[in-house]
């Protein structure tokens, strides 16, 4: 994957327009030749994802899925792809950006002569836009699209967001909303005293840390990603780590979903494996919660949440992912969770004391360098 950030925004724009043009020409050409038009879309599945052990990240393989117009199962998707490509072209030519939702609305209409709409919902359009991204080997940002803002940051750092200087030390209770596009062309880093980044799973835990001014007492940056972190958050974490050399620690729930969030931050996601190189942080560390914490911290039975069948299945899947399979401590961790038969959320530590997590749990872990890698 080419590193777009090195090119000027104008050059990227021209290149992206060229790629959309090529897709259109291929369709027109095969139509006029009375052939079945198609677009090859790289497959975004586990089977087309390889774990690069040397670089410790997920990479997308070469497998593609041919999407034909003249296939009942694919016709609609093919139509949507051409339609959204045209939408992106309009956007680039107008030098404007749109949210994914905006693009969904831009391309939404009733197909002439039917009562069928071009899209049933935004989710359908979002999926096709990801297809276009990989099919054109470009990035969402280059298509001038952004997602809904999700994720918050606070800490000893100043960022310059589209020219505005933002002091993340003075963000009150709300924090700085991490934008969807965190490319250097939009967000630059200013003064930074922080020594590390603590990323927590969700907003409620983040608020606890912010209220206790953890970032101040421990001189760090505090981020959250509302569950599975969106691309903006991951890109920002990556840049904080890469450009400022800050280690990234994760505080996530002790369940398969928490484990997978860590996995995504560390190696990249299966769905967006093509973006791993610019997002994955192989050195990210997992502070907790860990299955042994129930005993170690002396938690009450009330915090246990039983593993259901889906959790168990997912945990076993994760344990078999190549990037987990060779890590004995992770195998032990997952096995113990399965043996326990229950999961725990970060909030369970609140049963000990309101600020147990900020004053005892995390400082102890950091001091003892007790994390999973």
């Amino acid at each position: 994957m080419t590193n777009m950030s090195k090119k000027s925004p104008d050059a990227v724009r021209t290149e992206t327009l060229g790629k959309i043009g090529d897709l259109g020409k291929a369709v027109a050409k095969s139509a006029l030749a009375e052939h079945d038009p198609f677009v090859d879309v790289p497959t975004r599945t586990i089977s087309n994802t390889t774990y690069n052990e040397a670089r410790r990240l997920l990479q997308m393989g070469d497998a593609t899925l041919r999407r034909n117009l003249f296939n009942t199962g694919q016709a609609r998707k093919f139509m949507q792809m051409v339609l959204l490509s045209k939408g992106c072209k309009d956007l680039l030519e107008a030098r404007k950006t749109l949210s994914l939702r905006g693009m969904y609305y831009k391309s939404l209409h009733t197909i002439v002569g039917t009562n069928e709409k071009t899209f049933d919902d935004q989710e359908e359009s979002d999926g096709i836009l990801e297809d276009i991204e990989v099919a054109l080997a470009t990035l969402r940002e280059n298509l001038h699209l952004f997602a809904k803002k999700r994720g918050t940051m606070v800490g000893n750092i100043t960022v310059i967001d589209k020219g505005d200087s933002i002091d993340c030390r003075r963000m009150g209770t709300g924090g700085y909303a991490i934008p969807s596009i965190c490319e250097p062309s939009v967000v630059q880093f200013g003064k930074c005293e922080a020594k590390f980044v603590l990323h927590v799973e969700k907003d409620t835990v983040w608020s606890r840390f912010n209220e206790d001014r953890f970032w101040e007492t421990h001189n760090c940056i505090l981020t959250e990603g509302s569950g599975q972190p969106p691309r903006g958050v991951r890109r920002l974490l990556y840049r904080l780590h890469k450009e400022l050399g800050l280690p990234v620690y994760c505080l996530l729930d002790c369940d398969p979903w928490g484990h997978y969030i860590y996995s995504v931050i560390k190696q990249g996601s299966i769905n967006l494996a093509f973006e791993s190189e610019r997002m994955a942080i192989p050195d990210a560390r997992y502070l907790g919660i860990r299955s042994g914490d129930f005993v170690r911290c002396g938690l009450s039975d009330d915090v246990k949440i039983s593993l259901n069948d889906r959790d168990t299945e997912r945990a076993k899947q994760i344990a078999e992912y190549p990037w987990f399979a060779k890590k004995k401590h992770w195998q032990k961790e997952i096995q113990q969770m399965l043996r326990n038969g229950f999961k725990m959320e970060v909030e369970s530590l609140i049963t000990k004391d309101i600020s147990y997590v900020t004053e005892v749990y995390v400082p102890e872990r950091l001091k003892a360098k007790d994390w999973l890698d």
Binding site: I20, G21, L23, G24, K25, V27, A28, A31, L32, A33, E34, H35, D36, P37, N68, L69, F70, N71, T72, G73, Q74, A75, R76, F78, M79, V82, L83, S85, K86, K89, D90, I111, V112, G113, T114, E116, T118
Partner: protein, 584 residues
Amino acid sequence: MSAQQREISVSEFFAKNRHLLGFDNPRKALLTAVKEAVDNALDACEEAGILPDIRIELLQRSETRFKVTVRDNGPGIVRKQIENVFGRLLYGSKFHRLKMSRGQQGIGISAAGMYGLMTTGQPVLIISKTHKKKPAVEVLLKMDTSKNRADVVSETEHPEDDGLFADGHGTQVSIEMEGKYQQGRQSVDEYLDQTAIANPHAKFTFITPTNETIEFNRGTNELPPEAKEILPHPRGIELGTLIQMIERTERAQVGGFLQEEFSRVSPSVSKEICAKAGITPRTWVKNVGHAEAEGIYKAIQEVKIMAPATDCLVPIGTKALLSGLLKEVRAEFFTACTRPADVYRGNPFLIEVGLAFGGELPKDELIRVIRFANRVPLLYQQSACTSFKAVLETTWKNYGISQSRGSLPEGPIVVMVHMASVWVPFTSESKEAIADYDEIRKEMKLALQDVGRKLGIYMRRRQRMRREGERRSIFERYIGEISQATEAITGTSAKRIYDSLLKVAKRKTEEADAVLNDEGKRVKDSDPLGKDDSVIILPGRVPSTGEPSEDEAAPGDRREDGPAGSLFEESAAEATAKPKRKKG
């Protein structure tokens, strides 16, 4: 049975047996009168070799009083026969002979006239013209019930150019009677509908009491061949009947008796029968006692005898059946089957079944069974009829039609069952249901299975057709969008792209139109139904589907080796519309 009641006073007989003859209530009485008059008209035209053109008019006199007028283009009735035909009950030659005809007992039209007289006091009006150069005679007849004959009330000659009979000959009968006209099941309308199906060579014009004119046009211009009269066939004759025949015969020797009084008994067959019975063809008939008769009876069952001659039976025929169904039923698929003749109780008969499926027929109802005996629709007592039982006993599930246990199958289907025979065994004199003989029911089931199998093939194919239709519509729906977006991206004309893609869409779906067998493999020689004369498919009447199904049908194995002939027969070009209704 009625033949043995000759000595009873006709009025007494009729008053007592009204219900047996189909005059139980005013609604049925009206239908029966029309039915008897039309049946007679059809028989008369066919016997004279004339394509029937029959006009039926119901004139409402008051709420419960109607004037029924039926006019045909038959040969007309010679003056001196008019009183006999229309004025006497049980007059006719149809009862004792073994010949296929609509009427059997000679009761029909005279009974209708009698009913009219009894309920309204009005005489029957007959106008008959036998030759275009001869004037029509108009006779007003009043039945004298005690004498079983008619008195002429008045008699006039019509001027030559009265314009009543366009063909120069014909008969018109008018009966005034108590009745009730109501459309729907078991109505005059339904009777005519069904008669038109079974008699596609006939044209009917029906003027309803509300002065609407309904026309039933011909589906064919070919008259059915005339039926021949035959002798009984030995197979299936009962022992008692055999003994009776032996007692009555004028033949002296058994050989002669067998050969002359039965059909299909050649000298060698008679010799074989006698040998098995332990007698010889030269044995004197007078020496044949009960034991010998029983021996002959047993021998007949064992000896191989040719099936009865089928020329005594006139089937409607697959082609005419189809054309009849085609013009009266708005369906998409038609098939018919004519079975070879078989014998019950020594009477040859044959079964024909027609089936119409889909189109505008109601989907969620039980199928409709329409029954015919010698081309006459049977509207009453469906569940007592052996044809109904045969339909029930057929396993429709095998043909893709759902059927709950013990009930009619469900689906957009009309099944017609026709029995042609020299003697149709009705369960009663009003000729409403066919008696349940094993041989008859078996033949009916075989015919039903035959049309069922064809329907099954069509059902499977229709499913494929539907899938293809859906596929095509999916493609056609999207290529408009694609062409415009592609034009916006590349500048290539959207119209050119659209036209090209439309061509591809047609080609792609045609490819998959190719005939596949049940396993989805391509059949080498084309369509099994396509070459079948007993099948008509009207693709235009296949109901269009709603939302397409999102089936991800294996795109990989799409065949690239060109289309394989059309799916449909074009033979249905003559498909005519439903009878035209127009306000008169």
